[in-house]
């Protein structure tokens, strides 16, 4: 039951391994890693700056988790999100969920990512060789929230 905001790159496997060992009795461990991509269409991304409104991100992610925990029976979760400067290939987000049954772990993990994308107060700016650009919220993510509110 942990939410971490990290400034430095992290090795996902250390966290997944420890999480899995801590939840030996859970039959299902779901995990999702979101990584910084090297290109935006044809533009090479040199780095991504992630801005964070920490206090609100924590409030919002806890709210999402409370809501999902009422719907799906899970044993444990871990959420890690980077902020600051991120290089292509590095991890941005890691979600790990332990449950007795795989379907609950899938629904919880996927729902957490869907809501995190539209509620957690992070903003990405992509830096190119010739300038930089704030990342817009994805249309499909926006549609998800319009549909589910």
């Amino acid at each position: 039951m942990q939410i971490l905001f990290l400034k430095k790159n992290f090795i996902e496997s250390n966290f997944i391994n420890k999480f899995s060992l801590n939840n030996k009795d859970s039959g299902a461990i779901f995990s999702f890693i979101g990584k910084a991509r090297p290109k935006n269409q044809s533009n090479t991304i040199l780095s991504i700056d992630i801005e964070l409104y920490e206090k609100m991100a924590l409030v919002q992610i806890k709210k999402i988790i409370n809501k999902l925990m009422k719907k799906y029976l899970i044993d444990d979760y871990l959420v890690i999100h980077r902020y600051g400067k991120v290089k292509p290939g590095e991890n941005i987000v890691l979600i790990v969920v332990a449950a007795k049954h795989r379907k609950e772990s899938f629904r919880f993990g996927e729902g957490l990512m869907d809501w995190l994308k539209v509620k957690a107060t992070f903003w990405k700016k992509e830096n190119f060789a010739d300038g930089s650009q704030w990342v817009n919220q994805k249309k499909t993510d926006k549609e998800f929230i319009d549909f589910n509110l």
Binding site: G34, E51, A57, I92, V118, F122, Q137
Partner: protein, 82 residues
Amino acid sequence: MKILYFAKLKQLVGKSEETIIIQKKKKISQVINELKKRNEVYNFAFKETNSLQYAVNCEYVDLDCFVTDNDELAIFPPVSGG
């Protein structure tokens, strides 16, 4: 009342936070109209209020929400984490 700006809006306004005085209570839309009157920088930054998001004390609200002097108002473009 503390106002926080994030991401592109922070760049446009040129600061990450500032404090204004709210007597009793005010709608967020009214707060923004007053900011816009200050100068061209604010006027431009808040040109499209519908494409911005608003939060009072870490909860999402809309422009009709009232704020008081003890609140923390945050204004920002739609989030893009994950």
